[in-house]
């Protein structure tokens, strides 16, 4: 620990040396500041501590990093006389000024206290130290930290860092941080500097920049005008980003809907009946994920195992449903709807009895949590993974339908059941396998949904109505229709959400859908051919 701090101090020293060499006249001033820095921190006055911390960081003193870190971790103590400054860590006391171990610990050491103002200044001071770090990422982070804090005392240090910063990206961040500092300074900068700063902040964009510009009062009308224009530009940019953000949310919701609806579309397409227990098959997929994670004790491995397992379990249950219930009701689609609804109640209650009515915690693997920022866009990784997963499932299903004998038979039965039967296709077997396939896909949807939603016995109910809408909207027997339906509904929901609110947005979508069905009673991509009933 101590050697690490020492190393940091040495590095700071090495790195600051050229700076000191370049800025010769500044040296004596820094020397005085250095003396002041320690004394200020020891004084116990919050204002002086804040100034002292910044002064210390700007001074390039080799002890600066050590002292400031000690200050934030509350290991820094002042002597009774208000001058001596010591670091006490693990019962070792060192002199803050020299770093030497002190044998005789002075009496009456009191810890240096922090308040929010001081803490901010110390953070800025630490960022100032990092401005000279050898690692580019550290320097960039430091510049961003100063941009966020934009304390006016950091200005000289920023200027100095700018004089020898080799990296263009970091330079830009420094310029923007400097602009933020300038525009929030108590005394407004001269117009030319102010205009440059406004320009820099416009480039930076984002809510903090907008806040800084909104709080800035230009000395001349020109400057004020530039600031107002900059705010307008930033607002426009923010709005564009937020539209992209909602688009992403929409695609994400669409991918979930697609997963939930694909299985429904397959079973509906072939059998002409909507399986009301479809949501429960999704729910079972989510519970399989939970069990797989419990059994393996690992969130990643459990999730990976859950994908084939959920497909098999839900698919198996689907085949059982078809063989045990639905085949007795062929030709009576509305009755099938009622029977499967009854089945959904039984499945829900069974899961409730087995696992309890409360939400189970399915963990998200580390590689799926968190988010990445692309410009002003925040992309959460689990949603991104689900979008990719939905695309893969869709691709796999398309391949099964177009490239396998089973797919060929399924399509034949969908288009003209009797003709297919006459051509020697065993339609009951195709029915069972189709139902199993659709149910298996529902299980896959459950695996995905377990990562973003509560896993409870009611999980299926939340998705079933939306899935119906997707299938009805997209048209039957056509996966591309389902894709188009899911994407349209997902995006429409999310675009309407900020305008009308989440609930009202959903109501509007439902009403639009009801109106749409009037125009196209068989969906966007209706099935054509002689097999379609009159």
């Amino acid at each position: 620990m101590r050697s690490g701090l020492l190393l940091l101090g040495v590095l700071a020293l090495v790195f600051c040396a050229p700076a000191a060499a370049q800025a010769q006249p500044a040296v004596p001033q820094e020397a005085t500041q250095q003396a002041d820095g320690f004394a200020d921190i020891a004084s116990g006055n919050y204002g002086r501590i804040a100034a002292g911390a910044t002064g210390l960081a700007a001074s390039g003193d080799p002890q600066a990093a050590t002292v400031l870190h000690a200050l934030t971790t509350r290991h820094l103590f002042a002597a009774h006389d208000g001058h001596g400054l010591y670091i006490r860590e693990n019962n070792t006391v060192t002199d803050a000024r020299t770093g030497a171990v002190v044998a005789a610990v002075p009496e009456g050491l009191r810890p240096i206290r922090l308040n929010n103002h001081v803490r901010e200044a110390v953070d800025a001071a630490l960022a100032l130290l990092d401005l000279h770090a050898p690692d580019r990422a550290t320097r960039l982070r430091a510049a961003d930290a100063i941009y966020d804090i934009h304390a006016s005392i950091t200005l000289p240090a920023l200027d100095r860092a700018l004089t020898h910063e080799p990296d263009a990206g970091v330079r830009q961040a420094l310029v923007q941080a400097r602009a933020a500092v300038l525009l929030t300074a108590p005394t407004p900068p001269p117009s030319d500097q102010a205009l440059a700063a406004i320009h820099a902040l416009t480039e930076r964009s984002g809510l903090p920049a907008r806040a800084i510009l909104a709080g800035f009062h230009g000395a001349t009308p020109d400057v004020q005008h530039a600031a107002t224009e900059a705010i307008a530009t930033i607002d426009l940019r923010l709005r564009l980003w937020s539209i992209l953000q909602y688009l992403f949310y929409g695609i994400s919701l669409g991918s979930v809907l697609l997963l939930a609806a694909m299985g429904l579309a397959i079973t509906f397409g072939v059998m002409g009946v909507i399986n009301m227990a479809h949501g429960e098959l999704v729910m079972i997929g989510a519970y399989v994920t939970y069990l797989a994670q419990q059994a393996t004790g690992s969130s990643s491995l459990g999730l990976a195992l859950a994908v084939p397992l959920a497909f098999l379990v839900s698919g198996g249950i689907g085949i059982l449903i078809e063989r045990g219930l639905i085949r007795f009701l062929y030709g009576r689609p509305l009755e099938t709807l009622l029977a499967t609804w009854g089945l959904s109640l039984v499945l829900q209650q069974a899961v409730r009895s087995l696992f309890g009515p409360t939400n189970l915690s399915v963990t998200t693997p580390a590689w799926m949590s968190g988010s990445i920022a692309v410009g002003g866009l925040v992309i959460t990784l689990n949603r991104l993974v689900i979008i990719v997963f939905a695309a893969l499932v869709m691709l796999a299903l398309t391949l099964v339908l177009k490239r396998t004998p089973l797919g060929l038979q399924m399509r034949a039965v969908t288009q003209n059941r009797r003709m297919a039967s006459l051509m020697g296709i065993r339609t009951p077997r195709v029915d069972a396998l189709t139902f199993g396939l659709g149910s298996g896909v529902a299980g896959l949807a459950g695996v995905a949904i377990s990562q973003i939603d509560n896993v409870s016995p009611n999980l299926g109910q939340g998705y079933i109505i939306d899935s119906f809408m997707v299938v009805v909207f997209g048209g039957v027997g056509n996966l591309w229709g389902t894709l188009a339906g899911a994407a349209t509904l997902g995006i429409a929901n999310k675009i309407l959400e900020p305008v009308a609110g989440a609930v009202l947005g959903k109501i509007v979508v439902l009403i639009l859908l009801i109106a749409f069905i009037q125009r196209k009673p068989r969906g966007m991509f209706p099935l054509r051919g002689r097999g379609v009933e009159s």
């Binding site: 219930l325 209650q349 109505i465 009801i514 109106a515 009673p521």
Partner: protein
């Protein structure tokens, strides 16, 4: 159209009997407690919903999964009147605004609440609002020949949209909590047993009236047309009839009956909230009809009463098992009892009884 007139008479007679037994002194062995009268009133309100569902599903072949929406709208209309009747007796004692509006710090009654101080207007609205919604929805749907499963899903979307809408506080219908805490109707205390007994008999009369009215409509020329539309819609159209108009008439009539049921329901149950719009409620109403016997009006009444009686008993005694029972009811009815209880071979039974009786007569006669 089996046994509609006896069913209507039986309903009224049973309700009158229950009401009279309720008025007996509590010590009497035949006394019927108040809650039983309330339950019977609730079941009969549901019976009206059952008739409404049967009318469209049994006679027009439209499987509705959203009829509870019309029921709940009727309930809300009557609930608004009951809300206004509370007057200054609410928690906040505000004569101009219902409690929940005071709570939301509204200072003015929304325009659509005006007129609901009058019972007659509320009753009219309890019929007109569901009727108008049904007319609009039906006109759009039947005109463009949306049918089968698609239509079912659309009715479900309709009630789902209303469910979401009524959950919103801004709608001005009490949001999540709905309308409740009613005091009296037309000046009669809602909690007194006399009011409840009268309401039960009134509801029974409404059920009987609906049964007789629909029977009259269905047994005429219109009934035959409806059967034709149900069984061969295209052929009926080719013969020059307008199936969309025929369906629309029965659809709106059905919504009116459902709305009436909702209005009677809210008076007797004392609360209406957005949960009544839940799609599951509509589907449950369909199973009442399926159990009783699709296409038989008396079966709808029978099914509504039996299933709800079962629900009350089950949720009281074995709450865990109710969903299993309901689910099994759905599955077993569709698989093994496609024509419901009324579709059982009763004729053979009655025939057997008649045979026995005539046999006995034969014994006596000679």
């Amino acid at each position: 159209m089996i046994a509609v007139r006896p069913a209507a008479l039986l309903t009224v007679a049973a309700a009158v009997l229950l009401a009279l037994l309720n008025l007996l002194p509590a010590a009497s062995a035949l006394h019927v407690p108040d809650f039983a009268v309330g339950l019977a009133g609730k079941y009969l309100s549901f019976a009206l919903l059952g008739i409404a569902v049967d009318l469209v599903w049994g006679f027009a072949g439209i499987l509705t999964l959203g009829h509870a929406a019309f029921f709940a709208l009727g309930g809300y209309a009557m609930g608004m009147y009951l809300m206004r009747e509370i007057g200054t007796r609410g928690v906040y004692g505000n004569a101009n605004l219902p409690d929940f509006m005071v709570f939301l710090s509204w200072n003015k009654l929304p325009w659509y609440w005006h007129g609901f101080d009058h019972f007659g207007f509320a009753l009219l609205m309890a019929l007109a609002v569901p009727g108008a919604l049904a007319a609009l929805f039906g006109w759009l749907a039947f005109r463009s020949r949306v049918s089968g499963v698609y239509l079912s899903i659309m009715t479900q979307a309709l009630t789902y949209a209303l469910l979401l809408a009524f959950f919103r506080n801004d709608m001005g219908f009490g949001g999540n909590n709905g309308l409740t805490d009613f005091k009296d109707v037309l000046g009669f205390d809602l909690h007194s047993s006399v009011t409840r007994a009268v309401m039960l008999v009134l509801t029974a009369l409404m059920v009987a009236g609906s049964l007789m009215l629909t029977r009259a409509i269905l047994s005429g020329r219109f009934g035959s047309l409806l059967t034709a539309v149900r069984d061969a819609e295209s052929r009926t159209r080719f013969l020059g009839y307008r199936p969309d108009h025929i369906k629309l008439v029965i659809w709106v009539l059905s919504a009116l009956i459902a709305g009436l049921g909702g209005a009677l329901y809210v008076i007797q149950v004392g609360i209406i909230n957005p949960g009544e719009f839940a799609p599951a409620n509509s589907i449950e109403a369909v199973i009442w009809v399926a159990v009783g016997g699709r296409g038989t009006l008396s079966g709808a009444v029978l099914g509504a009463i039996l299933v709800n009686l079962g629900k009350t008993l089950f949720t009281g005694l074995l709450p865990e098992l109710w969903l299993y029972a309901l689910g099994a009811l759905f599955i077993l009815t569709t698989l093994f009892l496609p024509r419901g209880i009324m579709g059982l071979p009763w004729n053979r039974l009655t025939g057997l009884a008649r045979g026995l009786r005539s046999g006995a007569k034969a014994d006596v006669a000679p």
